[in-house]
Amino acid sequence: MALFRRGKQSGRERRAMKDHLIELDQLRRKQLSELGAITVEMADAGRFDRERLSAQAREVVGIEREADLIARGLEEGLTLEELEELSHGDDEPATDTGNQ
């Protein structure tokens, strides 16, 4: 479903989106690794700080969401302005961040 068919995506925008997608993937892996390391630290300490874990996980979710948006932009041929417009339409999901 192409809601935004106003403009045409340029080759430069497409390249930039692809590069950004690769960066986001690397960043996601890094953040996941950090999340795992934090979890190991907490397991060593014998206490899981869910707030901290949630904060780290939220960052990963944000990265994933941005990656999804960029992937959608690449798939539907959206311009950067349209992507920005689309990103303002999304809202944050409510999740449990209760502490132990």
């Binding site: 479903m1 892996r29 953040q31 996941l32 690794s33 950090e34 999340l35 795992g36 390391a37 979890t39 190991v40 907490m42 397991a43 060593d44 899981f48 869910r50 874990l53 949630s54 780290q56 996980a57 939220r58 990963v60 979710v61 999901p93 999740t95 449990d96 209760g98 132990q100």
Partner: protein
Amino acid sequence: MRKGALKKKRRQLEELHLDRREALGELVLGMYVQGTWDDEIMSRGAAEVREVAMELESLSSPEAPGPELQAKGESAEFEMPPTGEHTAEHDMPETAEHTGAQDLPDVGPETGEHTGEQPAAAAVADEAEADPRQEKPGDDAESPAGKASGSDREQEPAADEQTAKAETATKPEGTPTGPKPVTGGEGEQLPFKAGAGTRPAQAAAQQEKVSELDRMAERIAKTEQEAKTASDAARAAVAADARTELSAITREIESDRSKLDAALKEAAARIEDAEKRAAAAEAKLARESAANREAAADWVRSQAAEIEADAAIAAEIAADSGQERTGADDEGRPQLEARIRALETALEAEKASKAEALTVAESRLKAIEESAREAEKRVEEAEAAVSEAGTAPVSVGAAPGVVTEAEAREAAVNWLRGQIGALRQEIAKGPAQQPGEES
């Protein structure tokens, strides 16, 4: 273990460690997304990561003191010597065939008692390697093998102790521990060797064989442990992947649902808008048609009044002409004719005004028809807008009213046409009657 293999192993372990950390991160992410936290699973995942980290540390730690040990000659049994002292003793095959029988040529020439017991194949196979020693049995210090065995001989007690410690420390449960299966025949030879003075070299060789077996057992145990670790990691990764995939699918479904809701809301708003526009168009059409009907009725009434007035005038003229005809003979004929001409002129003027009124009526009729067409067009547009918005019920509901209005308008126009036709006939009758009246 060789340095290359060690590096490869370390690299693999590092990759495994990173993968496990990511898998644990995915696991925690899945818990965050689902909002269900399970400390036990997190602890288990952390333990798996820690296990790989410890293995990595244990692999890295012996590397540092390695060169020092080699310099002291203590690690000669575990690592290849860095110098040219790499002798045949270090290249022993890892099979069970490599037993004390291969050392027999060392002592064979000295005693001659064991030459017959020596297996021929082993003797031939070992001949090439053991030749230097056979040629100079007492010159151990000069030959490369002699150097190694000499150094072993000097540090034999310490090496024995270290090997025993290493065996007890690193040997996994259930692995072969002693040199018994391999060196079964050596027991018989030991007293003989000791008597011949070659005990240190054979002990070193035996020790090396034992350590070779230990290394093999250790390698097997390590491989098993790696396989177990890898399978655990794969299991954890699969579980984490499944959870992540599930959460991703859930997110996708939610986003699709929100998009669908938004599209439905938009469609409902457009339908409502189209309905409003259709209702407004209907109301406007009704107002315009009522105004047009009223105007047409007024005009027709005025025309009828004018026609009646004309008829009254014509009747009056006819009566006057009759009266004049009865007593006209007395008055002057020229006066009568002048009056007739004046009346004819007035009649002509009246006809002209009526023709003008007729033209005006026709133009008015055209305007009414035009406005009717426009109104029909608007109705059609409204119907099209409603059908575009996908409101079949609305268009179906609006059609009957619209058709009724159009029919009423058509009837009004037809009635007007009839009125105009009657007017034309009336006007046409005027001149036709006049000559008759005059005659």
